[in-house]
Amino acid sequence: MSTIVHPPSAHPKPGSLGERPEHSPDSPLSVHAMTVAYHRKPVLWDVDYDAPPNKLIAIVGPNGAGKSTLIKACLGLVPRASGQVEFWGEPYRKARARIGYMPQRESVDWDFPVSALDVVAMGRYRKIGWCLPVMKKHKAAALACLERVGMGEFAHRQISQLSGGQQQRVFLARALAQEAELYFMDEPFAGVDAGTERAIVGVLRELRAQGATVVVVHHDLQTVPEYFDEVILLNMRVVAAGPVASVFTRTNLHKTYGGRLTLLSEAAEAVARAAGGGE
């Protein structure tokens, strides 16, 4: 029984994931070895990612792959089981003012008694501050954001009277109103018509031209090469990440969508049960 002993952190074997990405302090988003669990069941294993600045980045993967979870964990909406996230080398609460967020459309009740302008103005609340009302200049800024997404004439429309694509644009306008350098968008293209899709892509390209970085959860593989510069292929862990040209390959897509991870899911279930005791 002879053994070959190597020191623990040996060279990675061929075939396994390449070098750990360098974490640069200039990167708008740096995720280090992040694991996220929902109800103690791991849904994201050991995510490591560095976003290059000033790019449009897509996160794609099958249902249940943890795409939304990745964004939410970065933003602190969902607790991390382990790992760290840094924005320009700083923790979230220091970098907050430079970050914008567009949640999924389904996450709100669109029958809420507010107009499109009111919703967009919510993006300015941080700048307005506690207890102070929304003044004319803030409303004007909000209106400008609405016009950028082509919704200027709907400013005073009640949000329940807007179509799905219009509602999506209002959410986008709200994120723009936050005047950020890094944007997270959760399924901005879900369920929108062609016109809205064109409008949103236009806004994304404008943002890139202005120097911002945009991370987008995207579900339509067809349009990834056309709309995005970088892509993260995600299926409970990062399968591959990098420029679209090199990473968005058939092999990688097969690995992402191939569904060979039943054992990992079983293991995740076991971890959950062990930790939670059958709740």
Binding site: K72, L75, G76, L77, R93, R96, A97, I99, Y101, P103, S107, V108, D109, F112, P113, V114, S115, D118, V119, M122, G123, Y125, R126, I128, W130, C131, P133, V134, Q158, S160, R174, Q178, A194, G195, E279
Partner: protein, 438 residues
């Protein structure tokens, strides 16, 4: 039965000091409850307020006993209310704890806290009553309310609480709206949502505790829920909602206590809640924005327009300009119109100037012919689209076209035209007889 003079006296605060006190106090309570209740409603925590109010009972009884044990006069209102507030908040804490640490759901947790705390309160009350320490007689008034015995100090307290509640709500209006609408966004943006939720809950506690005396703990939740729900039927704008909810709450309090003053023996709390209920019913039925009647009328108008367009289209497709009884009957049978509906459709067409009565019968006017042609074209466009793009078998096209052709907007029509054009299919626009396009 009270006469008109009496009624006017009460309405204008001239019917005696006590009555005026009650009317003023309950109006203020209604105002505060309406304003605060808007956000409980929008945050979907309406029934948490119910649990809260029932959970105040043990606190009141224990505060009474504790105050008595410490030698103080147990019956002072602030002491009792503070006790009520503490146990009410404890109840809410228990609900949250149950949600976090057990598999029980929110409805069960609220029901459990509501009933068990209330039971503890009843036991405590019965203990107090059996041993009859001085001043315990009035404790049960917190259950049903006894607005009629309001003192000036009580009204002052009510007024102060109302002012605090309204001021805080106005100051934090946008923060409350933000958290109620999209708390994830608020959290990402850096707002402390636990603190904001806590502020909302504190205001609910404040108003609940203030209302205990007037309408009792079982019914105070009514003042928190009913005016905002009623106000929602009248407006879609948040500012207006808050103002209106406060107004309707004040109105319920005002009218309710006026009525109860005029009809002695009727417990004021119950009358106030019934007044609120009546206001709710009127709002739900008659409010122009979201009321049932207005919605039904809008729906009817839409159905009439569509039905009228079917008639016009039928005439156009047969290259005719008369709406003969035969033609009308055919369409009516096909679409299952009742006779009254048929009459309404014809009347609507006439009213819109799309038909007129000629010696030969019902005839399409020029605009009517135009409209018929346009609808017919939209029909053709959509049918073509379904066949060419959506691979729908031609035999199945008619049903969905029927629904869609009436609601295609000009933008959509343009998009259809361009899509079909890219496949070399055109459906020529109808010649306009009058130059008027829909």
């Amino acid at each position: 039965m009270p006469d008109l003079a009496e009624l006017l006296d009460v309405l204008t605060f001239r019917a005696g000091f006590n009555t005026s006190l009650v009317v003023a106090g309950t109006a203020l309570l209604g105002l505060a409850a309406g304003v605060v209740g808007v956000f409980a409603l929008l945050r979907q925590r309406a029934l948490m307020a119910d649990a809260l109010s029932h959970a105040t009972l043990p606190g009141i009884a224990i505060a009474f006993l504790a105050a008595g044990a410490l030698g103080a006069q147990g019956r002072t209102l602030p002491v009792l209310l503070i006790g009520g507030a503490i146990s009410g908040v404890l109840g809410v804490v228990c609900v949250q704890a149950m949600l976090r640490h057990t598999r029980l759901r929110e409805d069960a947790a609220i029901g459990i806290v509501l009933s068990v705390f209330f039971g503890v309160g009843i036991v405590a009350l019965s203990y107090i009553q059996a041993h009859a320490p001085a001043g315990s007689a009035g404790l049960t008034r917190f259950i049903y309310g006894q607005a009629a015995t309001m003192q000036p100090s009580d009204v002052r307290l009510m007024g102060t609480i109302a002012a605090i509640a309204i001021l805080c709500t106005l100051l934090l209006l946008k923060e409350f709206a933000l958290v109620c609408f999209n708390d994830a966004f608020a959290k990402v943006d850096g707002w402390p949502i636990s603190f904001i939720d806590l502020a909302m809950m504190a205001l609910v506690v404040l108003v609940t505790v203030a209302g205990l005396q007037a309408v009792g703990l079982i019914l105070v939740v009514a003042l928190l829920i009913i005016p905002p729900v009623a106000a929602r039927f009248w407006t879609d704008r948040l500012w207006a909602l808050v103002l209106l909810a406060g107004g309707l709450g004040a109105l319920s309090g005002y009218l309710g206590s006026v009525l109860s003053a005029l009809l002695p023996r009727q417990p004021a709390g119950a009358v106030i809640v019934l007044t609120a209920g009546a206001i709710f019913a009127v709002s739900m039925i008659f409010a122009p924005a979201r009321g049932v009647l207005a919605s039904s009328i809008r729906r009817l108008r839409l159905r009439l327009r569509i039905a009228g367009e079917h008639l016009l289209e039928a005439a156009h497709d047969e290259n005719a300009v008369e709406l003969t009884p035969d033609r009308i009957g055919r369409v009516a049978r096909l679409r299952g119109w009742s006779s009254p509906f048929r009459i309404l459709v014809l009347a609507s067409l006439r009213r819109q100037g799309l038909t007129r009565t000629a010696p030969s019968g019902l005839v399409l006017t020029a605009p009517g012919v135009d409209r018929g042609a346009q609808v017919s074209r939209k029909h053709a466009l959509w049918a073509q689209y379904l066949i060419s793009y959506a691979d729908v078998a031609p035999s199945h096209v008619d049903w969905s076209v029927d629904q869609v052709e009436h609601v295609l907007s000009p933008a959509l029509v343009a998009e259809l035209e361009s899509k079909l054009a890219s496949r070399g299919i055109t459906v020529p626009p109808p010649p306009s007889t009058h130059g008027a396009n829909a």
